[in-house]
């Protein structure tokens, strides 16, 4: 629980400051975080009244995501390397992105419901409460069972870290939590930007899923598996590559695709910050457009 909330501090409901008036941005952010916490606590309490059901669904989530990795294991029972990467290295890539995505899914997983909320008019209910919309919205239906996905990601990541053949330096060791956290924040920004897009195109949830879920699947494999153009597109258009590949390849001591400079391995926190800024702008613009056009 500590981790998802600290992730929330970095990204979280900040962009929802829609009142550009006298109310200070800092106060709005603090209020947003507070309300996020209140709503999350409400849902957790409600989940915990049905402990058995919670354990079952968490276990189910864990199993489903575990099967995903088992598919990769099966592949490796036939080949020794995939795109030149060993099983340990793949596990490292997979585990890091799985954990990052799991964190985002836990903390922000509800934001893709915006389109439905706009269509059925329930967004208005959030707009009449004294709290930023995004904070209320991200915390809605907070599902602790999504911890299953994070657990699976962490297990695979641990397996990868133990198996890979790396000369560990403090810098490389620091790189691992940095890439998971920045990755989670980048995912969150993509989630929010995607949600903001739904202000204009209310059926765009599908488009967003292709970026987030599709993106996460893509990153579970090394870049050499995919065509160069696709890789370039992913690196430059959607900064998802920063989530995983660049820092991971640095840790593994592997050459970069497209001859990118090594220093990019340290870029993720910066990229995450830029993504948050962009997502915040998109969200604000979306909300403003909603408030001037109605449902």
């Amino acid at each position: 629980m500590a981790e998802p909330l600290s992730d929330q501090v970095e990204e979280g409901p900040g962009p929802a400051r829609t009142d550009e008036g006298p109310e200070s941005a800092v106060r709005a952010l603090r209020n947003g975080l507070r309300v996020y916490g209140l709503i999350v606590a409400m849902w957790v309490r409600s989940t915990m009244t049905y402990r058995a059901s919670f354990l079952m669904t968490t276990l189910a989530g864990f199993t489903v995501t575990a099967l995903d990795f088992i598919a990769i294991l099966l592949m490796f029972s036939h080949v020794d390397a995939l795109g030149g990467y060993s099983l340990g290295e793949i596990a490292f890539l997979y585990g890091a992105v799985g954990t990052a995505f799991g964190l985002t899914d836990l903390t922000m997983g509800s934001v893709d419901r915006l389109g439905r909320r706009i269509r059925d008019g329930t967004l208005d209910a959030l707009l009449v409460r004294p709290a930023p919309v995004l904070a209320q919205f991200a915390a809605d239906r907070f599902a602790l069972r999504r911890l299953g996905r994070i657990t699976q990601g962490l297990l695979v990541l641990t397996y990868g870290l133990v198996t890979v053949d790396v000369d560990w330096t403090p810098l490389k060791a620091l790189m691992v939590p940095m890439m998971v956290l920045s990755g989670s924040v980048i995912f969150a920004a993509v989630f929010v930007a995607g949600a903001a897009f739904q202000f204009w195109a209310q059926d765009a949830a599908e488009v967003q899923s292709s970026f987030t879920y599709g993106g996460s699947t893509l990153l579970q494999y090394p870049p050499t598996v995919f065509a160069e153009d696709l890789v370039r597109g992913v690196t430059f258009i959607v900064p998802l590559a920063f989530v995983n590949w660049l820092p991971a390849l640095y840790v593994l001591g592997r050459p970069y695709p497209l001859d990118l400079p090594q220093q990019l391995a340290f870029a993720p926190p910066l990229v995450a910050a830029v993504c948050c800024w962009a997502a915040a702008l998109a969200w604000r613009a979306g909300l403003r457009s909603y408030r001037s056009t109605g449902s």
Binding site: G21, S46, D124, A125, V128, R129, P130, R288
Partner: protein, 347 residues
């Protein structure tokens, strides 16, 4: 600014929506709909005002601008001295909103969870929260509903739950958008009684939109009529009936089929078997008419129908030039409720 006499100030407010419509294969046609077209009014502190009009007249759009959900395209709005569009969250602490169609409660959770969250979210002092909740639970009959998930509540129960949720933080202004829509007669009476008491005891300013003229009759000292985004009438309900020359209808079931009844107090407008419909001026009491009929005819049953808002407004138009006919569609779709038959005792 807290001590201005007027709680709500609306000056020349407009809301223009751009509607895109498919015209042909690729071409999209843009069209402007003026949902609210230059409205000005004042609501004094502690006043209870009805805001009525047909479907798509601009009622809900106005309410949304008064809460800060929508930003006006033009004009000036102040609620408790605050500009709603600019300071939506600051205003939110001072207003309560009930949407008849949609709940502001947390759908999948027990009713009490919504209240507990409001307690923290609005930072209501513990004692105040307790008092307000107890009072709402008592007057709105919520005791047995507190542990029920909101989605399992009936419409009337949910509406009462919503009203309580809107009042826990002691709002100075309460907006009610169709608070009695779809409710049965008993729930309606309960809701009306509660609102009247709230207004008398707390001095809460209330602005309510409705389709039901009975709501207005029982609650509001003043009524504003909006149609095609313009304010058509402002004043008392009796004045509205006079201005529109509106009529109530007495539906009489006779013991057997008879020729149309004759009385100087009303005119018979329809006969169907033993049932007859008599129209009489809305401002006039039904009692003398009922007495006169019962004396001369074998009456089995009676009921009075209030005029529908649509009819009253249509009659007002008959006496005024109609506005430009270019505005058709519905930027603010309200459902179409049935007019209430009001039972008359002693039939």
């Amino acid at each position: 600014m807290a001590d201005t006499a007027d709680m709500i100030e609306v000056d020349g407010v407009e809301k223009v929506f751009t509607v895109r419509r498919r015209a042909g294969l690729l071409r999209r046609e843009k069209r402007e709909v003026r949902a609210v077209d230059g409205i000005s009014f004042r609501v004094a502190r502690g006043e209870m005002v009805g805001y009525i009009g047909p479907n798509g007249a601009g009622k809900s759009t106005t309410i949304k601008m008064l809460t800060g959900i929508l930003t006006p395209s033009g004009g000036r709005v102040r609620v408790a001295g605050i500009d709603p569009a600019r300071e939506r969250t600051r205003l939110a602490r001072r207003i309560g909103v009930v949407f008849g169609q949609r709940t502001t409660l947390w759908w999948d959770l027990p009713l009490k969870d919504s209240y507990r969250l409001a307690h923290r979210m609005y930072r209501i002092p513990d004692r105040r929260f307790r008092e307000n909740l107890d009072r709402c639970v008592e007057l709105l009959d919520l005791a047995e509903l507190l542990d029920v998930p909101v989605r399992q509540l009936s419409l009337g129960q949910r509406m009462r739950g919503d009203i309580a949720a809107a009042l826990l933080h002691d709002p100075e202004v309460l907006y009610l958008d169709e608070p009695t829509i779809g409710l049965d007669v008993i729930s309606k009476a309960k809701v009306r009684g509660f609102l009247r008491r709230l207004n008398e005891e707390n001095g809460t300013t209330v602005l309510l939109t409705t389709h039901d003229l009975t709501d207005i009759e029982q609650l509001c000292g003043r009524v504003m009529v909006i149609d095609h985004g313009r304010l058509m009438y402002e004043g008392s309900l009796d004045g509205l009936h006079e201005a529109g020359g509106s009529e109530r209808t007495l539906v009489v079931d006779l013991e057997r089929e008879l020729p149309p009844m004759v009385t100087e107090l009303a005119r018979t407008v329809r006969v169907e078997g033993p049932r007859q419909w008599l129209a009489f001026p809305a401002a006039q009491s039904a009692a003398p008419l009922v007495a006169a009929l019962a004396e001369r005819y074998p009456v089995a049953d009676l009921s009075v129908r209030e005029p529908e808002i649509e009819t009253v407004i249509a009659k007002m138009y008959a006496e005024r030039p109609a506005p430009a006919p270019d505005q058709e569609s519905d930027p603010d779709p309200d459902p179409d409720p049935d007019p209430d038959p009001v039972p008359v005792s002693g039939g």
